[in-house]
């Protein structure tokens, strides 16, 4: 699957980068590498970033709800993507956490456990 536009132009990707800036008070480092890894994940699940986030939530009266089943599915996909990534266990954890960070800063609560 090829994304229809550069990954940085997706709204959820901008939300992610803004979230990182706001949370940590500094410009996120290695932005290109982060975006590249997220792009690989999107190819892996064959969904663009906005669609990934849309899959995990739905609009209801009075706000948004997380779709528990979809979140679980993506959580498993991230774990699968992580285990297929290069490097040692720590490097693989960093890869998975990068995608989790994208989900978290878009409001999709997610935990992965200790991977240190």
């Amino acid at each position: 699957m090829v994304l229809a536009k550069p990954i940085s132009e997706y709204e959820t990707v901008q939300t992610w980068l803004q979230g990182l800036r706001a949370q940590w008070g500094v410009e996120p480092d290695n932005v290109d590498a982060r975006l590249d890894m997220l792009r690989h994940f999107c190819e892996f699940v064959e969904r663009d970033p906005d669609a990934v986030i849309a899959d995990c939530s739905r609009e209801v009266e009075g706000g948004k709800r997380i779709r528990i089943k979809s979140r679980r599915l993506y959580s498993e996909k991230i774990a699968e993507f992580q285990s297929g990534a290069g490097g040692d266990a720590r490097a693989q954890a960093r890869t998975g956490n990068l995608v989790r960070s994208f989900m978290i800063h878009n409001g999709i609560f997610m935990q992965a456990g200790v991977q240190g």
């Binding site: 949370q23 940590w24 954890a93 609560f109 935990q111 992965a112 240190g116």
Partner: protein, 261 residues
């Protein structure tokens, strides 16, 4: 540690040293402190089941994880599950109130006697109270809250970190096979903090005057700045969060423990 400083240092710790065991003596101290909490009619509704994370079969540990508390359950080496034993009042009837009369805690000076307990307090107040589930639950749980707070403070006094989480009540009852009339309340996660003891500073609180009143609800209790200064000197009121360097501390912990940023 002085009492005021213990109160000032307590904050919900969410980063624990996952592999640093907690001494059994410290866990007992936490439980002993809970047992000494004030309790209405001396009933003592709080029950606790202590679990060493690494002794819990992995499938049970996974079963107990909620989406919000999965990570802290992995990090904390000791989990204390608190329950409220709703059956206790009917089991003990008025016997613990009679003990208080015998101990001189409840005395005729204040109208108390064995006969008052036997003829009036249990049959006309306590027993009917247990049949009004909504009111009874609120009273019993409030009582448990006081005991759990004692336990929390004891953990910090012992140099540990702790926080309360809400487990899935059905799963908790199932995993531990507790009696039907026990209500699942909280899990207190205990361990040595992986974060600094300040944990980023004292957490935000609503203004004092919004919470406490004098005489009526329209008159906020007047806060004396001199008292505030005294409490600051005693380390009860501490520097508010976020302290400088807190975000760097979290990032460092994230890298060390392999957590997302």
């Amino acid at each position: 540690m002085e009492f005021k400083e213990v109160v000032g240092r307590r904050r919900s710790i969410r980063f624990f040293e996952p592999d640093k065991p907690v001494e059994r003596e410290k866990i007992q101290t936490i439980l002993e402190t809970a047992r000494l909490a004030s309790s209405a009619v001396n009933a003592h509704w709080l029950r606790a089941i202590v679990v060493e994370r690494d002794k819990l079969p992995p499938e049970k540990l996974n079963q107990l994880k909620t989406p919000v508390a999965a990570l802290t359950l992995d990090l904390a080496p000791v989990h204390i599950y608190f329950f409220c034993d709703l059956g206790i009042v009917k089991k003990i009837k008025g016997s613990r109130l009679r003990e208080l009369v015998d101990a001189g805690a409840l005395a005729p000076t204040h109208g108390w006697s064995h006969k008052f307990v036997d003829d009036f307090v249990y049959p006309q107040i306590l027993e009917p109270m247990t049949n009004n589930l909504q009111g009874y639950l609120a009273a019993a749980m409030a009582d448990c809250g006081g005991a759990a707070q004692n336990a929390l403070l004891a953990a910090f006094d012992e140099g540990l970190g702790a926080c309360l989480n809400t487990p899935n009540p059905m799963l908790t009852k199932q995993v531990f096979g507790v009696p039907e009339d026990w209500v699942s309340l909280w899990v207190m996660l205990v361990g040595y903090p992986a974060e600094s003891w300040e944990a980023g500073g004292q957490r935000p609180r609503p203004p004092f005057e919004e919470l406490y009143f004098e005489g009526d609800v329209n008159t906020p209790f007047k806060r004396d700045p001199e008292v505030v200064e005294k409490l600051k000197k005693a380390n009860m009121i501490q520097a508010p969060a976020p302290l400088p360097g807190r975000m760097e501390e979290i990032r460092m912990l994230a890298q060390r423990l392999g957590l997302p940023e």
